[in-house]
Structures are given as C-alpha cells and as structure tokens.
C-alpha cells in the first residue's frame, strides 16, 4: 500500500512577494502589453509555434509533474495547465494581461514549476514545456516582476559573479582557511590557487564558501589524496552556479558562463570539474554556453559524479570501509535527465555503500527535489508552498525506508532537507563527497600502483 504523508495542506495562492509587488506597482497596461509582445515577437521562433500548434491537449504530461501529484491531481498544476494559465493567457490576450493575472503568472512560472523537463518525457511528441515556462520567466524578468530573493541572487551574480555576495577576499580567505584546516589530514595538502597549466580547474557554487566550507575541505582532501594536478581560481569565475538562467535574465546568465570559461582558459586547464551541483552543471554545460554561442562547452566539463567515478575506478582513491547504513539515491534532474549520469551514480553507490535501496521512479524518471529550477531561491515567502507542492517527493523517499539519502546536488540537498524536516522524516542527506571522504583510505596515490 502506498504511504501518504499527512501534513499536506493547500497551496497558498495569496503569498505576497515584495519583489513581485514592487515590480507590478511600476507597470502600466501599455508597458505590460509592449514587453509581452516584444518578447513573443522578437525572442521566439519556430519552436514555440510548433509546440503551440501541435499540442493536442491530451494532458498526458500531467502525471509527470510532481506538483500535480502533490496537489491531489489538481488540474492547475499539470504542465499543460500551467502553460494555459501563463503563456497561453499572454498569447490569448495579445499581451493585454492584468496585474492580478501577472501576479498569478509569476507564482506559477517561478514557484510551481521546477523546469525539470520530466514532462517532456511524458508528452508523446516531446514538447519542451519547461522551455515555455522559462519563456514566461523571461517576460517576468523584462517586466521586472521576478520574485525578490531570486532576483537578489541574480543581482549578486551580476555584481560579484557569484550568487551569494561573496567578496573576492572572502573567497580566497575561505580557501586558505580550508587549506590550513585540511592539513590535519595531510600536512602538505594544498588548494593551489591560480595554478597556470593545471590539468583541472575545480569550481563550486557560492554557498560552499558562504555556508559549507567543509565541503571545500573534503574536496581538497580527495584531490590531494588522488594526486590530481588541480587548481581553483582566486578571481571571479570560480562560481559555477547561475540563477540568472532561471529568471530569464539570459544576458547575465551568459556573462556568468563567460566568466567561468574564461577563468578556465586563463588558467590553461584541460577540464573543469564541478562540485556536486545539478543546476550549475546545466548552466555551464547546456545553457549559459549556448547564449554565448558556444554550442558545446568550449572546455570539457565534468560533474563530480563522473570525476569521483574516475577516481574510484582508476584506483586513485581507495575505499577502506564501505558505508554500512542503508542508503537510497536521489537522481538530480540536471545530471540524470540532463546528463545521463544515473548509472555512474549507482556504480559509485555500489563502490561506497554496503546496502542500497532504489527509490522509484528513478534515473531519468526521478521526481525533482522540488527545490530546483530556482524554486528554493525564491526564498522564505514561498517555503511552505514548496513543502506542500513537494509531498510526492517526500512520499517517494519515505517508501524507500532508507536511513540515508544521497543527493549529489546542492539544490536537491537543501530542498530535500526541507521536506524531510517538514514531513517529519528521520533521514540524513549526504553528498557523494561526504561518503568518499569518510570511506577513503587517506594515503596519497602514487602513479603506477
């Protein structure tokens, strides 16, 4: 029998978001009409027309959406239902959309869709509904009605090239502090800054130096033990995250990707290895690069899962003691649907853990953590809605009965911790890095072994 969590309530459609309200206040009907029509006319093309003209309104996408499932199959939460209330409304009214409707549209596009692309896998035609929701967000960006907290994050990106207002000295100081601390593990450990010609540039998301510096410590230990010729940039471009791609601020999104790749080419590295983050991977591998005109990443980009997989299978890192407790694995959308890394993730689990229980559905079909696509970054006003809208995920995790949940993505990590707490589930969320750090043999790899 399927267990259902008990703490559900209805989504609050009356949430007040200061950023949205201030933006709405400054809008006139003329401006609304102008911006919507400009974006629809100048920034869309064949794709949108084909999607709109071809959708047979069969609603097969509905069952793909965890928002729909979490809200007792309320039709407004189905992917096509969301398009109907947002983009279709703008098209139908030829841009003459009221402020109240816009308020609704922002809520739906920003907080009731994770742009996880799961629905594309349930549409028999493969219509990219996430693209349409992102188009709505683009319009919201141009109308300056993006939710407050995610806009603040984008502001940080634009001003500092990182998403957390981390100042340049704070970044370097944190790395040096972690380097010093990590010398507890290896007395000669280094986090080499700006090492010209290193093989690998390791990049992280700004929440790591801001709140979770220990992850940089762990990572430094792993790199050092594996004898990797690596570096981290001391200058902007070190942050691989990108919230601008989720608010439709493609100009800033492109600028972020540019800074990241320019950091890599300035350091003459062969590869960029990214920490355990999904949206950042999507940005660097698949989104920011495209706006810049780089059809594929100009420098090879490797997600931490692939990197760890290489370290373990090549023997650069040896596992001393496997993790004993039963674990389950959450497949982050942006690296399963977004990069097909789910099989490697399972092989990693197998190398690291004694007991694994699958979460279903899984791999490409896994549900989004509910925090993705910028949803968690919309901040405190939207948190309860996010919990309500994510019941399906909580149930899915609960059904595994595992004690530990591996989530190789920062967004997922935070989002899953939120729902586990909200739905009173006693489960610990871990990164692969945590498991490797604890299980590894802390000796330095010698080539030829």
């Amino acid at each position: 029998m399927q267990e259902t969590s008990t703490k559900d309530s209805e989504t609050d459609t009356k949430v007040i978001d200061e950023g949205v309200e201030k933006g709405l206040k400054g809008l006139t009907p003329e401006k609304i009409e102008l911006v919507i029509n400009q974006v629809l006319k100048n920034e869309t093309g064949a794709r949108l027309k084909l999607y709109i003209d071809t959708c047979m309104r069969c609603s097969l996408c509905a069952d793909a959406c965890s928002f729909f499932l979490s809200n007792d199959r309320a039709p407004e939460f189905s992917p096509a239902g969301k398009v109907k209330q947002t983009l279709h409304e703008m098209i139908r009214l030829k841009g003459k959309v009221s402020k109240d409707t816009l308020r609704n549209i922002v809520r739906i596009a920003h907080t009731e869709c994770n742009v996880c692309k799961r629905c594309s896998m349930y549409c028999p035609f493969g219509i990219d509904i996430a693209y349409m929701i992102l188009l709505v967000r683009r319009i919201c960006h141009k109308l300056e009605i993006t939710p407050l907290y995610i806009q603040d994050t984008v502001n940080s990106h634009a001003a500092t090239m990182n998403q957390m207002w981390v100042k340049e000295d704070e970044w370097i100081d944190t790395l040096q502090w972690q380097e010093e601390d990590a010398r507890e593990e290896f007395e000669n450990l280094r986090i080499p800054l700006d090492k010209d010609g290193a093989d690998i540039m390791y990049s992280v998301i700004a929440p790591e130096p801001k709140f979770q510096a220990g992850l940089i410590y762990q990572s430094a230990v792993i790199h050092h033990a594996a004898d990797i010729n690596w570096t981290m940039p001391s200058f902007p471009g070190w942050d691989n995250s990108n919230m601008a791609m989720f608010t439709g601020d493609y100009e800033i999104s492109g600028r972020i990707a540019k800074a990241h790749y320019e950091a890599a080419t300035k350091l003459h590295v062969k590869k960029i290895v990214m920490g355990e983050c999904g949206h950042a991977f999507r940005s660097v591998f698949d989104v920011g690069n495209r706006w810049m005109g780089w059809a594929m990443p100009p420098v090879d980009v490797i997600h931490a899962i692939e990197f760890y997989h290489y370290l373990l299978t090549s023997g650069r890192i040896k596992i001393k003691d496997k993790f004993k407790e039963t674990v389950t694995l959450h497949d982050p959308c942006n690296i399963s649907r977004g990069r097909g890394l789910h099989d490697k993730a399972r092989e990693l689990v197998d190398m690291l853990c004694e007991s694994f229980i699958e979460m279903t559905p899984n791999k490409e079909h896994n549900y989004c953590c509910g925090a993705g696509g910028g949803a968690i970054n919309c901040g405190p006003p939207w948190k309860i809605n996010r919990m309500v809208n994510n019941r399906e995920k909580a149930d899915q995790i609960k059904r595994t009965g595992a004690k530990v949940l591996i989530a190789p993505c920062h967004n997922c990590h935070s989002g899953l911790e939120d729902i586990l707490h909200y739905y009173d589930q006693d489960m610990e969320v871990k990164f692969f890095g945590d498991l490797i750090f604890n299980a590894m043999d802390k000796t330095i790899y010698k080539g030829g072994e």
Partner: protein
C-alpha cells in the same frame, strides 16, 4: 447543378482537389516549417542527430515502451488503435479502392467489409472515448477548448457517415454526400490545423530525442 452532377463533382474533381490541397498544403507547410526553423532558431540543426532522432521516434512508436504509455495503458491502447485505424480503414476499404480503380486504375489489397465495419465501430467508439475523457477527466477538461471537440467531430464524421452509408441507414444519398464531403474536409484541413501534428510530432520528437540523447546522454521515453 442537379444532384447527380453534384455527386459526380464531389466524387470526381473534388477528390482530386482535396488530395492536391492536402499534398501541396502538407509540402508547403513542412517547407515553411524548416525555413522558419532555419530563420529563427537554426541552432537546432547543430544538435539534431539522425541516430538519436530515429531512436526517439522508434521508441515512441513501439507500443508500451515509453514509461508514459505504461502508466496509461488504457488510454494508449485506445490511442494507438485509433491512430492506426484512422489510416487503415479508409485506405484498405474495398469501396474506396474500387473508386480508385475506376478513376485511376490503381488497386491494392483490401479488408473485407465485415472487418471494416467492425473497425469503423471501433474508431467511432475511440472518438467517443476521447470526448468522454475531455468531459470527465479533470486535468484534460481543464485545458480542453471547443476546438478540441470540433477536431474529434471532424475526425469521426467520415467514419460515422461511412458506417451509416454502408448500412444504408437514414437518407442514403444525403449520408453518402456527407460522408464524401466530411472525408474531403478532413483531408483539406490536415495541413492547416492541429491535424498536422501527424507531420510535426516526428520533427519535435527528433529535436527532443537529439537534445536528450545527443547532448545530454539520456533517454527521452
């Protein structure tokens, strides 16, 4: 124009006109679609891969391979049946073939009339299912518009009238005329309405399949 010349017209010149409009319209719209893609979003071509396009299209043509179809077996069974019969019944109907033979001297194998009759009833039942689903299933109802019913009616009319004509129920002549006209209308409308999804769906599928498979190394079914 008396009744006979009218019937001659709709069963003669009008059939040709319908086919010409259908074929020319389809070619024109497909051409326009590719020109439009090239003009507005030509980046799409750099991601398209023949291998992954084909992989995706074949996967979605295989009954019950996509997870989506396994989650909704009842719907997909009906949908597969409907879409297949939509082509099979009119193409392999003996009376249609006879007409072709008469005018163009073309012929091909046919299904017997009893089977055709049963299959026609199945098609009509399928359309009834679609209508019911649009009214009853709340997420479908939510996004349904009047035009969706019109589509189903247009698609079902040739079958309903064909069934009535075959069984010579009601006014045969009128029904027969309605059957011919409804078939022609459907044919003519294909390039200009959402019926065109039969041609666009594989294009979208190819792009999505390529993005998933070629760029992101993932399956899309």
């Amino acid at each position: 124009m008396n009744m006979h010349t009218f019937i001659d017209f709709i069963m003669g010149e009008m059939v040709i006109v319908s086919f010409v409009i259908f074929i020319a319209g389809t070619c024109g719209r497909l051409l326009w679609t590719f020109i439009h893609i090239n003009k507005t979003e030509n980046f799409i071509f750099s991601y398209l891969s023949f291998k992954y396009s084909l992989r995706s299209i074949l996967a979605w043509l295989t009954p019950f391979l996509p997870v989506s179809s396994r989650k909704k077996p009842f719907f997909y069974s009906i949908s597969y049946t409907f879409h297949i019969l939509l082509f099979i019944v009119p193409i392999f109907l003996l009376s249609h073939i006879t007409l072709f033979e008469e005018y163009l001297n073309w012929s091909w194998i046919s299904i017997n009339d009893t089977s055709a009759d049963i299959l026609t009833i199945i098609v009509i039942l399928c359309t009834l299912f679609f209508v019911t689903r649009r009214v009853v299933v709340k997420e479908v109802k939510y996004i349904t518009r009047t035009s969706d019913f019109v589509f189903i009616i247009i698609a079902s009319l040739p079958f309903i009238t064909g069934f009535l004509a075959y069984h010579q129920l009601f006014a045969y002549k009128i029904i027969m005329i309605a059957h011919v006209i409804s078939g022609e209308i459907m044919l003519i409308l294909i390039p200009f309405t959402r019926f065109f999804h039969m041609f666009i769906a594989p294009i979208i599928r190819a792009y999505t399949g390529s993005e998933f498979g070629n760029v992101r190394g993932a399956k899309d079914w």
